[in-house]
Symmetry: C2
Subunit: 398 residues, 2 copies
């Protein structure tokens, strides 16, 4: 087995549903050991999210493969005592509770850093641990809406729409993992941990790209752009005889090539279209002419032709298409995990390709845990509970 970058790092994972579990998943991909603390019985809320296969949630499974699970009820004395003993042994704590929740249990950062000054504490919450909105509950769709991304997503002039995947949670989980490893890196120099406070709302601002600077400079509020690039033309979707295709010509040379391939070479010299600025100004007229051509053949044919000519293009894939895509296969980006009681189930691979890690080790070994599956192992082997103490602990969790 290869030693991955975070080999030997232990993470106490007190997270639920998506933002926090995504963060610890990324740390697990890099070799950290993830010890997930779950409530007795129901466990992580996402275990109830469909679809289920033989009673197990594929949603939960896809985000929690390779983690260990220990039951803990932090409302009990025994639960809090165990939690503190775990804090002594781990390098990182990741939690996505509402701000103040751990403090109310007597498990706030100030307490935990006394127990383990080397602890890196990563919190992922809706609005962070400071500011007037801090106590508010948040869900992905709420931070997407408040953070501005929804206002720029949708058809031009139409109603804005939510991004189809939970970027409110996922981007926050990614920033949490990035902050965590930075803090670990610093710890090797200082010997001390620190707190990393990630707000889903903050993270939405950080991915607005040019929208913030554009508004700051011009005072124009950006709106939804649909499938078109604001300032490069042609850079949009066209209908083909069987579906749709994206074509992107970033400069005159590419546009000339495109006109050649479409058998309308004169168009490249047309005074309305002979520079990117003019094409953008006359985008509707140009789109009409190009659309007529693209309607004549099927997407696969156009892709072959355009790719041979070196013109950037691509299909609009549904999720099903990814399962037969040769690049996805070559990059090991869909991986089957053998989940006991469920069978082989496909999850996304690890996009961080390291030259020191062979493809078959890019994901941590092992399926998602059953609730509390590793309780005994962690209590006895890691924390040094006697068999009797372990039984008493389990009784106290019921």
């Amino acid at each position: 087995m290869t030693q991955k970058p975070l080999h030997g790092i232990k993470v106490l994972d007190f997270t639920n549903v998506l933002a926090g579990p995504y963060c610890s998943m990324l740390l697990g991909n890099m070799g950290a050991e993830i010890i997930k603390v779950e409530k007795q019985g129901a466990g992580d809320d996402s275990r109830a999210f469909g679809p289920h296969v033989n009673g197990q949630s594929v949603y939960f499974m896809s985000i929690n493969r390779g983690k260990k699970s220990i039951v803990c009820n932090t409302k009990t004395e025994a639960g809090r005592a165990m939690f503190k003993r775990l804090v002594e042994k781990v390098d990182l704590l990741v939690e996505n509770l509402k701000p103040g929740a751990l403090e109310r249990m007597g498990l706030g950062y100030d307490t935990l850093k006394e127990i383990n000054p080397k602890l890196v504490y990563v919190s992922v919450s809706g609005f962070g641990h400071s500011g007037p909105y801090s106590p508010r509950p948040a869900y992905d769709m709420i931070v997407q809406a408040m953070g501005g991304i929804i206002s720029i997503t949708g058809q031009p002039g139409g109603e804005p729409v939510r991004v189809g995947t939970s970027v409110g949670d996922i981007v926050a989980g990614m920033y949490g993992a990035f902050g965590a490893v930075n803090a670990l890196y610093q710890r090797r120099k200082t010997g001390l941990g620190q707190k990393v406070d990630i707000a889903m709302f903050d993270c939405q601002l950080s991915i607005l790209e040019n929208a913030i600077a554009k508004y700051a400079a011009t005072g124009n509020v950006p709106g939804p752009l649909g499938m078109r690039h604001a300032s490069i033309t042609p850079f949009q979707a066209f209908s083909t005889s069987d579906s749709r295709i994206i074509v992107a010509c970033g400069n005159n040379a590419l546009f000339r090539k495109l006109c050649g391939v479409l058998d309308i070479p004169a168009l490249a010299e047309d005074a309305r279209f002979n520079s990117n600025a003019r094409r953008t100004e006359n985008v509707d007229a140009l789109a009409e002419i190009l659309q007529e051509k693209f309607s004549l053949r099927a997407t696969a044919e156009w892709l072959d032709t355009l790719i041979s000519a070196g013109i950037p293009c691509g299909p609009i894939n549904g999720v099903d298409k990814l399962f037969s895509d040769p690049q996805v296969a070559a990059r090991n980006m869909l991986v089957e995990v053998d989940q006991p009681g469920m069978g082989a189930i496909t999850v996304a691979g690890n996009p961080v390709k390291l030259s020191t890690v062979p493809p078959e080790e890019e994901l941590p070994a092992g399926p998602a845990p059953a609730v509390g599956e590793h309780t005994q192992e962690i209590l006895v082997d890691l924390l040094g509970y006697s068999e009797k103490e372990a039984r008493e602990y389990l009784d106290a969790m019921l």
Copy 2:
């Protein structure tokens, strides 16, 4: 000045436009020194992207604040020689050229690691350094389309739309930065660098969340969901008397509260709506009733009422609204940078809040560089060129 986690780390930043520059921006936020290599004259392509203020691109400025710039034409002997001398001195190289481009210049990873075995080499490209699509050009919209996110974004039954921000580039930049710090962390144990190979396309798969596992388990291809949650109700947007509001009731208790606030308490007991499953089944009937109520008052009034009642909700903010939001201000998420010749311009803050870094130091000091602004300093102070050698280098770059 606080020593940030990556204090002392030098990054040779051979990147352009967005995915690569976003990656090095994140490393710079964490304290690394970023040395951007640019072509003489035009520099980074995004310097040409509007809007411009006094001839400077706010787009470029927002992603490159705090970096240094050195001119280098890697097509010249002198340029390649300087590049190699820089490689000796730095910890990290980040590049987002087309795969194979550096190899063709004699600057591929295999060459560079001979020069500096401790070098961490981060590549961010469209399809990665392996697989059949590797040589293909890619833009954000193309990987968004091919990676599946566009197929699940949009109004239900309507045409799919692009995510309004460049998540194809940005997520890849984030994974690049995460991989980079992991490799630095491992280097402190092994003494050796490694290659981090990030594909924008791979990264799109990794943020599809439950869409992959759902399709794998059920065979149903997920489509766009508009502004509604697939399996929780009510969890959607409603029109108010002046705009729109998002309301999210994840369980019966919240729904009962909502019915109380809307003065229709009997609705919570209605056989069509008394469980989440039934509400989801009868989502249109429920939405009609709730919509009628939400139409009666303005968004700000509803927000006050719902937030007091503890019901998760939020407005759909345009980018302008963020500039007056008290939480954004409290979290230092919009920061003014004083750009010479441009004045104060607002950019997004750093969402990774570390307890060891005071708010005023969360972003690196300094504006975005002019093309080659630090050429002399880097040649002479860092690389030990004599004044004469530096002049000869500059002449060779023209």
